[in-house]
Subunit: 322 residues, 2 copies
């Protein structure tokens, strides 16, 4: 069978039997792989940006570099690690403009610095597609890793950073599928082109007592579903995970927010679970907004306004949408 | 200008201005990037295998995975680091057979284990070309990093592991450019398909007092030239870096060994410089064979049998051979 028919998730399952976790290295199926080096706890990650699938018209080379680093930085943040070193593998078609290649590199370097880390090296070569793999090492400055999998309790708070919806709107606008006016237009385009990984919120996870956390880059519904099902829980969404200006825009234009808010992707926001007693004020100060509650026991069901949301997101290799 | 006209080396030079070395992270332009974590010294690396440029007909999916890990393991060995954790970014065309994708993963996993490390995770997605980026973390178990750049002295010994020539012969045979008979055929094909990174020799570098070391994967002439020019030295080759059976084969068939021995690539052998007083017996026991001497001061000139060898190797993006 061709991998285009198998789909990314099934393929990853087949791959997992070749994955080994030496003692002291943990955990599998998480946003990063953590390991100890001396008295330090580090995180290690690789992520890939492919031009033919991830780069719409209008996404400039600088933005491509920025986003490639942001994806890895966001995974670090979700685990409570501070980004430290990045390296890139930059495979480009030989007819790429030199200026564009340099702008990609500049975008990567500036993003790495913006997140408190550094681009320290890499590899470049020729390919028929543009493929950027970014690898990163992060430092768990608080000494703890916040996992996806943990024991959750009935009533635990589900919180997010930022506002979902802008990124998917920005992509739709760039692809000419929707017409937006200001200020939603600029904010949406910016959210898609220049997302900012939530380092500060990530580093606050440990202090706030987060039980579980995950980067949202595969879409909010899928992220919530994965967090919930991994922990035998359900999640009831009690507040729409979009800010007021965006909800006003959706209502004013008769647009259903659901596909934009729950089924986008590439938001690079954090989705975290906190104990019920954590102060909402403290959460708010560190960039988190409570959007729902955990129900246990459960099976990964996500409900919003009385309806169950499908736990779906974008999947590579699948020819048609699932 | 298109990067196909600029060439890989010039492009890397342009990129270097975006590379940052935070304090405690070193050095730029070496086989790996080393950094301290607590009381440990670690090495960090990324390398890329591209199907359209690196995969000749006949290189099986398992071998592709094996070679992709070997390239990174060999860089670790050249710096005296022990491979520890690997992750891969596996971008494949959607019409790739599932069985082939799994064999690539198996090749990576088995190579990682063979080198004393583990494949602990990765990322997979769709691209128009097959692109495998492998990132690795190694541990400097002897507490030292053996650099490319160091102060060399007149008379220092230049040594290699293994025998050069087989890999380029194997590739030529696989591409139908040369007809070989046994036992050279099997050994050459094996050398190309299933190279073995020199972990044991790499870990012996520190104990043997190595001054400088480099992985040879861009070809022996280029590796020697880079080591020499970086250290303002010349190198005089006094012994052909190929073993007896191979030299007998070249002589018996009237084939000039030079292009195969000096201008191949992907050998994943070590090229190292040792002080003059180091026992050749000790070197031999740990897999090193002395092939020449350092002359200082110099400008990167490599001489062999009275002739100067061009410091050239394979370069991506360049449409024609240099």
């Amino acid at each position: 069978m061709k991998i285009g028919e198998v789909g990314e998730r099934k393929l990853i399952e087949s791959f997992m039997k070749f994955v080994d976790m030496p003692s002291g290295v943990f955990p599998p199926f998480d946003d990063t792989v953590a390991f100890r080096a001396g008295n330090e706890l580090l995180s290690f990650k690789i992520d890939t940006f492919v031009f033919s699938t991830d780069r719409p018209q209008g996404l400039e080379p600088y933005d491509v570099g920025w986003k490639a680093i942001t994806a890895v930085a966001s995974d670090m943040a979700a685990k409570a690690a501070s980004p430290y070193l990045f390296q890139c593998s930059l495979s480009l078609p030989p007819d790429t403009d030199e200026v564009d290649a340099i702008q990609i590199e500049r975008g990567m370097s500036e993003a790495a610095k913006a997140y408190g880390g550094a681009l320290v090296g890499g590899d470049t070569g020729e390919a028929k597609d543009g493929v950027i793999a970014v690898t990163g090492i992060g430092v768990h400055v608080n000494g703890a890793f916040v996992p996806r999998k943990n024991r959750l309790a009935l009533g635990d708070l589900v919180a997010i950073t930022g506002s979902f919806g802008y990124v998917a709107l920005g992509l739709a606008a760039m692809m000419g599928k929707i017409k937006l006016s200001e200020p939603i237009l600029s904010r949406s385009i910016q959210a898609f082109k220049h997302p900012i990984a939530r380092i500060e919120s990530g580093l606050a996870l440990v202090g706030l007592g987060a039980k579980a956390s995950m980067d949202s880059s595969d879409g909010l519904a899928l992220t919530l579903h994965e967090l919930a099902s991994l922990n035998s829980a359900d999640v009831e969404i009690t507040e729409t995970p979009a800010d007021d200006p965006l909800m006003t825009f959706f209502k004013g234009n008769g647009i259903d927010p659901l596909p934009f808010v729950f089924y986008g992707g590439e938001e690079y926001e954090l989705v975290a679970v906190f104990p019920e007693h954590v102060s909402r004020e403290a959460l708010r100060e560190l960039g988190f907004k409570v959007i729902g509650r955990v129900k246990t026991p459960g099976s990964g069901k996500i409900t919003y306004e009385g309806n169950e949301l499908k736990g779906e997101g974008y999947e590579h290799f699948k020819a048609e949408d699932p």
